[in-house]
């Protein structure tokens, strides 16, 4: 039998999305710099670039779903790519957040004379860690448990239950994001309030950004699960989302302990 393809890999068709993503990134970076310096049109270019990047992500990943679920190109060998890729990406994200936590520790463990030689710096109205932060801290791990529930449901072939579990995961995540947004709004310090504000808002802010990305990823998984696109043998996208989600909720513990709790006393 002469087969059409003797190897198990996927040689993708030519696609415009890499270049469109690059152009979007170019517009975003140039626009961002223009926006932060006194140049006209920076904000427009920045927004255009961001929209373009988001559009590219949408269409690129839509193509991946088409090639995998609808065209069946994702053999076991091909699935390894996204698997290892997701893991490496999460590791890179860990490094990224590690940098911010290092910065926070650098400034807080040996506070300089300019901020009064104490941490938190003199005059900073620190948030009580036992209020909203403490409330949020169990909410995220609970949604982590819910995503594990969803995974087991998928593995057991219980498709409806998996959808419910994903809805629970996303709801908990949205609640926690809502609380966090409220906290940001009410918090006395701002990002420009000395090194405390900078490190606090960058570390918690980027974590929050990752929560939002993870939530979006899980929503897409929920939609796909509802449409019946995942099987108990093959659900690499869901696993990537679940790993990302576990990374997000584990990381949550570090800022709670080091920034909210230790950093506030």
């Amino acid at each position: 039998m002469i087969e059409s393809q003797r190897h198990s890999y996927h040689l993708v068709d030519p696609s415009p999305w890499p270049i469109s993503g690059s152009l979007g990134a170019l517009a975003t970076t140039v626009g961002g710099v223009m926006y932060m310096h006194p140049f006209q049109g920076g904000a427009t270019l920045l927004s255009l670039g961001l929209i373009f990047i988001l559009y590219t992500m949408f269409v690129w990943w839509r193509d991946v779903l088409r090639e995998s679920t609808l065209e069946g190109h994702h053999t076991k060998a091909v699935q390894l790519g996204p698997r290892y890729g997701s893991i490496l990406f999460i590791v890179s994200e860990v490094m990224f957040l590690f940098a911010f936590f290092w910065a926070s520790s650098h400034s807080s463990l040996a506070p300089t004379v300019e901020i009064g030689g104490i941490w938190p710096p003199k005059g900073i109205g620190v948030l009580d860690p036992w209020e909203i932060p403490f409330l949020n801290t169990p909410i995220l791990p609970s949604s982590g448990a819910a995503v594990t529930w969803a995974h087991h449901a998928i593995l057991a072939g219980k498709e409806k239950r998996a959808v419910y579990a994903l809805v629970a995961t996303v709801s908990l995540a949205l609640v926690s994001t809502g609380f966090q947004g409220m906290e940001y709004y009410q918090a006395p310090p701002t990002i420009s309030d000395s090194i405390y504000g900078s490190t606090f808002f960058l570390a918690t802010g980027f974590h929050g950004f990752h929560v939002i990305i993870g939530t979006l990823f899980l929503i897409i998984c929920g939609i796909r699960q509802y449409l019946g696109q995942m099987t108990k043998e093959h659900h690499v996208g869901f696993e990537a989302a679940a790993w990302y989600w576990h990374f997000v909720d584990v990381v949550r513990l570090f800022p709670f302990v080091s920034i909210y709790w230790w950093g506030g006393i």
Partner: protein, 163 residues
């Protein structure tokens, strides 16, 4: 990670314990494609090997599989491989019982690593051509090409050089 745990036992199975209690076991490497795949589907294999009367269909394993993925699963359920990415292995090839290397074309690059254990040598590479059995210059392992496809030149061009 969990996949790596599964690869190891599979790799040892790849050492092709052929039934013959022959003293020497040869291995031939023919890496036209890239390096050894890390993939396997242990849960699929275990489910198939345990089956007695009930034959699983693709729908039991992956209800919405289609395309190459489906072909891969179908072949696995029958115990065959749709995409055979492994290096060929088998008993040491002699003139009477040569090591048979398959190819879809009229020639294939083959590497001979020698026999088992002490008889191993640095890999010797050569083109194995149709109707031209080849003997390894180091260990004299005998290879023969079996054309299982369309034949022709692997790079798709005609045989004369320079075009």
């Amino acid at each position: 990670m969990w996949r790596r745990v599964c690869v190891a036992p599979w790799r040892s199975a790849l050492r092709c314990s052929h039934a013959t209690s022959a003293v020497l076991r040869g291995r031939a490497l023919a890496p036209i494609s890239s390096s050894q795949p890390l993939f396997n589907a242990p849960h699929l294999f275990s489910s198939v090997s345990g089956e007695g009367a009930l034959k699983k269909s693709v729908e039991d394993v992956a209800p919405i599989a289609t395309g190459h993925e489906r072909e891969e699963i179908e072949a696995e359920l029958e115990g065959k491989k749709r995409f055979d990415m492994d290096a060929p292995c088998g008993p040491f090839g002699t003139k009477e019982a040569p090591a048979v290397i398959q190819s879809h074309y009229d020639k294939r690059i083959v590497g001979c690593p020698g026999g088992e254990g002490e008889d191993e040598h640095d890999v010797v590479w050569f083109w194995l051509e149709k109707d031209k059995p080849h003997e390894c210059p180091v260990c004299s392992q005998y290879f023969v090409l079996e054309v299982i496809g369309n034949g022709g030149n692997p790079d798709g061009h005609s045989d004369d050089e320079g075009h």
